[in-house]
Amino acid sequence: MNKIKSLEDLRKMKQSLEHGMNIREKSNEPDSLVQIRVAMATCGIASGARTVMNALVEKIEQEKIPAVVTQGGCMGYCYAEPTIEVKVPGKDPVVFGNVDAVRAIEIIEKYIVNGELLDGIIPTNYQSINEKQ
């Protein structure tokens, strides 16, 4: 370990370290954040949910978007896997189907950041998986 020689160094060091902790920081304040849940059941993983998740996490980290990515079980939309659920504070949750890495970035940029509506929302009969259980 090298000595930290100044307050400046300490601050830099903090910046380089904080992204590793971001996930914990964010989960500490879940209600003020955009919550993105990736369906990670067998069907999801088989259709590439893990790639989607990686892309989301990376993008959020890069752009410093106040969002947290979690994984969930099967939402019951196996035909449309990979699916992700996005909950922006103050709005009802929305589920996107057939998401891939490119679309994932698009969802972030358009829906989350700009608040535009996007195609591919799975409508109406949505029920949170946890309520079903």
Binding site: M1, N2, K3, I4, K5, S6, L7, D9, L10, R11, M13, K14, S16, L17, E18, H19, G20, M21, I23, R24, E25, K26, S27, N28, P30, D31, V38, A39, M40, A41, T42, I45, M53, N54, V57, E61, V68, V69, T70, Q71, G72, G73, N130, Q133
Partner: protein, 597 residues
């Protein structure tokens, strides 16, 4: 730091470790490795989550899933189900005692909803043995800012404005204490952290040191800068091996980063800490006794003044604060005195950590804003009384405190209100009693502790507490008389009035407050010879309900003193004079024919 999508936080506090949490960490790690998830999920050993009742705890980030009473054999399921497939393991989720529903995440648990964590901000959140995690959360930013940008006077000013008062029991304003120590000139001064936590039933200091040692180290350095000390000493109970270990690791890491030692962060400020071990003497919580103990003597207090701020360790000005007080300090500098002062009541700012224990559903460590009511603490955070029994009293302040009753349930908790109610904040023990607890016995229990822990230096504490205990024993033993209660009261007042140190000055509080709030219970003991709670053995009255008695003679054979007589197949009777209240008949009777009063 590597980027993980999921963090599995496992409690590594003493309580959870006692239930194999280390094995849980091992198992989780190997399961994750088996499934090739080591780049996605990270297992972190953290400090205490506070929810000790249901330990060991595994918390999963980012969704705050809160698994309770996890066993090492549950780990495979957690990893394959939750980590891999995102499906929660329902049976391990916390079950709300009222609705009997599983709660999804910690944010929805009553236990956490009303808490506000400042002193415990990093406990159960970071890996206490990894300084990087502390730095990532603005660790050492406060000391950095202070020593590069502020004068000691300005820093002390912030402390004074924050309104922080000592969390060890006395409630003395911390900023003022620092100011006094800073004004006393000397070639060497000392910062002492009192970690000789001794209240039976209070363990917040241990939890902080186990879960967030760096914040205490940082705060001690801040204090050092403010008062002009370069040496810090942590006086810690030898019975806290884990806290000692974590503190040592933290100090080593801080030294390696140059955050302790000479010329910290390139400034002219030097500061380092060392550890001293307590050896099992409650009185060493008193600052003068603590200082004598650090010097290698018997931990006997001396008359104040002189206060440690003038003449302390090795005769030098010394500032003593306890662990929880220190743990608040970095947060005050990071978020500002105004922020801190905005929390709490008029004269008690910020939060207080309490150790909830006793007949309560959620035993554990909680941190709540000053001014919260007992009702909120006991019934919302604590989840109410165990087994649906009736709340009777809550004892705060440990052996120095008193009992609060139903009528205090809506009193906002702060230093002054507790004292006004005849108790005190103390270090924050909160023991909840239900209808089965005899208040005379409770007072007796605390006195037993004080008698055991009195140093013996001054007569009122050495002999007085012994006599209080003897009288309480006499009352519990069914031999008390009404005058005893008056004598208890007078003796208690004199002990408080004349004892040398805080131990004796507060030790009669449990007696006085139980007499005040439960006078009838005392009277019942001495006049009617009844223990209304049914807990004093000598006052139990065993009788046989003749309607239920079949005359099977099982009780006759069980009775060791031949106190039971009766014809076969006829109802028996117990001779109360012969009966020694052993309860053997009660245990033997198959027909619940023995009545105990």
């Amino acid at each position: 730091m590597a980027q993980y999508k999921m963090h599995l936080l496992v409690c590594g506090g003493t309580g959870c470790r006692a239930s194999q949490s280390e094995q849980i960490v091992e198992n989780l790690k190997s399961e994750i490795k088996n499934l090739g998830l080591e780049n996605d999920a990270q297992v972190v050993t953290t400090g205490c989550f506070g929810f000790c009742e249901k330990g060991p705890i595994v918390k999963i980030i980012p969704d705050n899933t809160f698994y309770t009473q996890v066993k090492p054999e549950d780990c495979a399921e957690i990893v394959t189900e939750h980590v891999l497939k995102g499906r929660k393991v329902n049976r391990l989720l916390y079950e709300d005692p009222e609705t009997l529903k599983h709660i999804e995440d910690s944010k929805h648990m009553g236990f956490y909803q009303k808490q506000l964590r400042i002193a415990l901000r990093n406990c159960g959140f970071i890996d206490p043995e990894n300084i990087d995690e502390y730095i990532a959360r603005d660790g050492y930013a406060a000391i950095g800012k202070i020593i590069t940008e502020m004068t000691p006077e300005a820093a002390i000013d912030i402390m004074k404005k924050s309104g922080l008062r000592g969390r060890g029991g006395g409630g003395f304003p911390t900023g003022l204490k620092w100011e006094i120590a800073s004004k006393n000139k000397a070639d060497q001064k000392y910062v002492v952290c009192n970690a000789d936590e001794g209240d039976p039933g209070a363990f917040m200091d241990r939890s902080i040191l186990e879960g967030d040692p760096h914040s205490v180290i940082e705060a001690m350095a801040i204090c050092g800068y403010c008062i002009g000390a370069t040496k810090g000493i942590v006086y810690i109970r030898a019975e806290y091996p884990l806290a000692i270990k974590r503190l040592k690791v933290a100090a080593r890491q801080a030294r390696a980063y140059g955050l302790l030692g000479e010329k910290i962060l390139g400034t002219d400020f030097d500061f380092d800490i060392e550890l001293r071990y307590g050896a099992g003497a409650f009185v060493c919580g008193e600052e003068t006794a603590l200082i004598h103990s650090m010097e290698g003597h018997r931990g006997e207090p001396t008359v104040k003044p002189p206060f440690p701020a003038e003449k302390g360790y090795l005769g030098k000005p010394t500032n003593v604060n306890n662990v929880e007080t220190f743990a608040n300090v970095p947060a005050i500098f990071l978020k500002g005195a105004e922020w801190f002062a905005s929390i709490g009541t008029e004269k008690s700012k910020g939060t207080k950590v309490f150790a909830l224990a006793g007949k309560i559903n959620n035993v554990g460590l909680i941190e709540v804003p000053m001014g919260i009511t007992l009702r909120e603490v006991i019934f919302e955070i604590g989840g109410g009384i165990k087994d649906g029994k009736k709340f009777k009293a809550v004892q705060t302040g440990g052996p120095s405190g008193g009992c609060l009753t139903e009528k205090h349930l809506d009193t906002p908790i702060d230093f002054d209100n507790l004292i006004a109610a005849g108790s005190m904040m103390g270090s924050g023990g909160m023991i909840v009693m239900d209808e089965d607890d005899c208040m005379v016995s409770v007072a007796k229990f605390y006195l037993e502790f004080t008698v055991e822990e009195s140093c013996g230096k001054c007569a009122p504490c050495r002999i007085g507490n012994k006599r209080l205990h003897e009288i309480l024993e006499k009352i519990c033993g069914g031999k008390g008389v009404e005058e005893d209660i008056e004598y208890l009261k007078n003796l208690s007042r004199v002990i408080k009035d004349t004892s040398l140190c805080g131990l004796g000055q507060t030790s009669p509080n449990p007696v006085l407050s139980t007499i005040e709030h439960f006078y009838d219970e005392y009277l019942a003991h001495v006049k009617e010879r009844i223990c209304p709670a049914g807990s004093c053995k000598a006052l139990k009255l065993y009788t046989i309900i003749s309607d239920k008695c079949t005359g099977c003679t099982a009780c006759v054979r069980a009775c060791p003193v031949d106190a039971i007589t009766g014809e076969k197949r006829q109802p028996h009777v117990i001779d109360a004079d012969k009966c020694i209240r052993c309860g053997a008949c009660y245990d033997k009777c198959k027909f619940t024919a023995i009545h105990v009063q």
